[in-house]
C-alpha cells in the first residue's frame, strides 16, 4: 500500500520510518530537503522536495485513489489544502490531516477529512488511519473479557440503526462531537464509533456478520 506523507517533521518522519520498516511503499514530501535528515540512513522510501498540494508533485509521488495521504506539516492551512486536493481531486479515501485548531478541525471533518491534533501520540493515531488493522482494540478490562474498539463507519454501513449493528456502540464521534450511542440513531459515513464487546463481538462487526440483515 502506497503512502504519501507531506511534512517531514517529528510525526511525518516517524510515520515514514515505521511504514518503510514494515515494507510499505512510502514517499515523503517536504519543502526543505534538510528535513529529510530525520529519516536516517536506513530509509528506503522516496523523498520529494516541493509543495505538498501541488498537483504535479503529487502525481510524481504516485498518488492514486487507492493510496493513503498523510498531511502533517507544521501548518494547519497547508495540511487542509493537501487533504482536500488528495481527496477531491485525486479521489483518495484514506486521508488524514493534522489540524491543531479544534474549531477548524470540526469544520474540516464535515468535508470528509479525518483530522488529528498535534499531541504526543499523534504518530500512533496517524498510523491507525493509514493502516486500519482489523482486530486492534483500544482498551481491555483486566480479565480481557471486554474490549473497547474504535472503528470508522464505511459508506456501506451508513444508514444502519445502532440497534441493528449487532454490537454495543457506546459512543459515536461525529464531526468532532461525541454522542452517547442511542439505539435509534443512524450511523453515518466517517463516524468514529467506540464498540464495547467481547473479542467475538468485535470480530463479527469487523467481518460484517454482526449487522442485522447481513448475509
Amino acid at each position: 500500500m502506497h503512502t504519501i506523507i507531506v511534512g517531514c517533521g517529528r510525526v511525518g518522519s516517524t510515520v515514514a520510518r515505521e511504514l518503510d520498516a514494515d515494507g510499505h511503499s512510502v514517499v515523503i514530501i517536504d519543502r526543505k530537503p534538510e528535513a529529510f535528515r530525520r529519516l536516517g540512513d536506513n530509509f528506503k522510501g522516496r523523498t520529494l522536495t516541493g509543495i505538498g498540494f501541488d498537483r504535479d508533485l503529487l502525481t510524481a509521488a504516485g498518488i492514486t485513489a487507492e493510496c493513503a495521504v498523510v498531511a502533517v506539516t507544521n501548518g494547519d492551512n497547508s495540511n487542509i489544502l493537501v487533504a482536500r486536493v488528495a481527496r477531491e481531486m485525486f479521489g483518495v479515501e484514506r486521508v488524514v490531516a493534522r489540524i491543531n485548531d479544534p474549531k477548524r478541525a470540526k469544520i474540516y471533518e464535515r468535508l470528509g477529512v479525518s483530522t488529528v491534533a498535534a499531541v504526543a501520540w499523534a504518530s500512533n493515531r496517524v498510523m491507525q488511519y493509514v493502516l486500519p488493522r482489523r482486530g486492534t482494540v483500544e482498551w481491555s478490562d483486566p480479565t480481557s473479557t471486554f474490549h473497547l474498539a474504535e472503528r470508522r463507519v464505511s459508506a456501506e454501513l451508513a444508514g444502519t440503526k445502532i440497534s441493528d449493528a449487532g454490537v454495543n456502540i457506546a459512543l459515536v464521534v461525529r464531526n468532532g462531537v461525541a454522542h452517547v450511542g442511542e439505539s435509534s440513531m443512524l450511523l453515518q459515513e466517517n463516524d468514529l464509533i467506540h464498540i464495547l464487546g467481547t473479542a467475538d463481538h468485535i470480530e463479527s462487526f469487523d467481518n460484517g456478520s454482526s449487522i442485522a440483515g447481513a448475509h
Binding site: D54, D76, I80, D101, K103, R104, I107
Partner: protein
C-alpha cells in the same frame, strides 16, 4: 457596504483607504500588530490584530454582517482558508481573494468559497499579450465566478473577419462584440460595422465559446 479585509500589507492597506474614501465601512485584520496599526483608525476603518484563518477572529471582525470579505494576504494557503470559512461559516455574499502564486490559481473557485480571484501576474500577462499579440485570442478578465469573460482579438491580415460586418460574424449567442478599438478610437459596434485589419475586437462571452470566437475572428490554422 461592510467590507472585511484580511491582510494589512501594502495591498490590504491601500484597499482599506480607497474603499473607506468611497464611503464603505472597513475592518482590516492582520496577525502582525505593526502592520495592522500602521493604518490610521478612522470612523470608517477599524484595525484588528488576529489570525483571520480562525473562526473566532472572523466572527469578531464582523464577518457575519460583512457584504464582502477580501482575502489579500501574501499567502495563498491563508487566503483560501479565509475564503472557505467566510463563505461556509458566515455566508458572506461576495468573497474576493488574491492569488500570489499562479500555480495555485486553479484552487481559487467555489471549492474554496472564492467568488472572484485576482492574480496580478495573470492580469499583467494578459495586458502584455493584448498589447503585443495580433491574431490570437487574449482573455483579459473573468467575471461572474469565471463563467463570463472579456476577450480580445487583434485582427491579423489573414483574418476571416476582415471586410465582414459584425452582424455577419458566425458568433454564438453567448458572445457579443462590445467594442472595436481602431486607431486609438472606440467604435461602438453595430450590426453593419465593417471590420478592418488590425482592429482590436473586444468580445464579452459567457460559457465556453472560445473555439467559436477563434474561428470567427482568427480562422483555422
Amino acid at each position: 457596504m461592510k467590507i472585511v479585509i484580511a491582510g494589512a500589507g501594502s495591498v490590504g492597506r491601500y484597499m482599506a483607504k480607497q474603499l473607506a474614501a468611497s464611503g464603505h465601512t472597513i475592518v482590516i485584520i492582520d496577525n502582525d500588530a505593526s502592520a495592522v496599526f500602521r493604518l490610521q483608525s478612522t470612523d470608517s476603518i477599524t484595525s484588528f490584530q488576529g489570525d483571520a484563518c480562525e473562526v473566532d477572529v472572523l466572527a469578531a471582525s464582523g464577518a457575519a454582517e460583512a457584504d464582502v470579505v477580501a482575502a489579500v494576504t501574501g499567502d495563498d494557503e491563508d487566503n483560501l482558508v479565509i475564503s472557505l470559512l467566510s463563505k461556509q461559516e458566515f455566508g458572506v455574499p461576495r468573497v474576493v481573494a488574491r492569488v500570489n502564486n499562479p500555480n495555485n490559481e486553479w484552487m481559487y473557485n467555489e471549492m474554496w468559497g472564492v467568488d472572484v480571484s485576482v492574480s496580478t501576474p495573470h492580469l499583467l500577462t494578459g495586458l502584455v499579450e493584448e498589447a503585443v499579440t495580433e491574431g490570437s485570442l487574449v482573455r483579459l478578465m473573468a467575471f461572474d465566478h469565471g463563467k463570463s469573460g472579456l476577450n480580445e482579438v487583434t485582427l491579423a491580415d489573414g483574418s476571416p473577419a476582415i471586410n465582414q460586418t459584425i452582424g455577419s460574424l458566425q458568433l454564438p449567442r453567448e458572445a457579443t462584440v462590445v467594442a472595436v478599438l481602431r486607431d486609438g478610437h472606440v467604435v461602438a459596434p453595430a450590426l453593419d460595422t465593417v471590420l478592418h485589419a488590425h482592429d482590436e475586437v473586444m468580445v464579452l462571452s459567457s460559457g465556453d465559446c472560445e473555439a467559436a470566437i477563434r474561428a470567427a475572428l482568427i480562422g483555422s490554422k
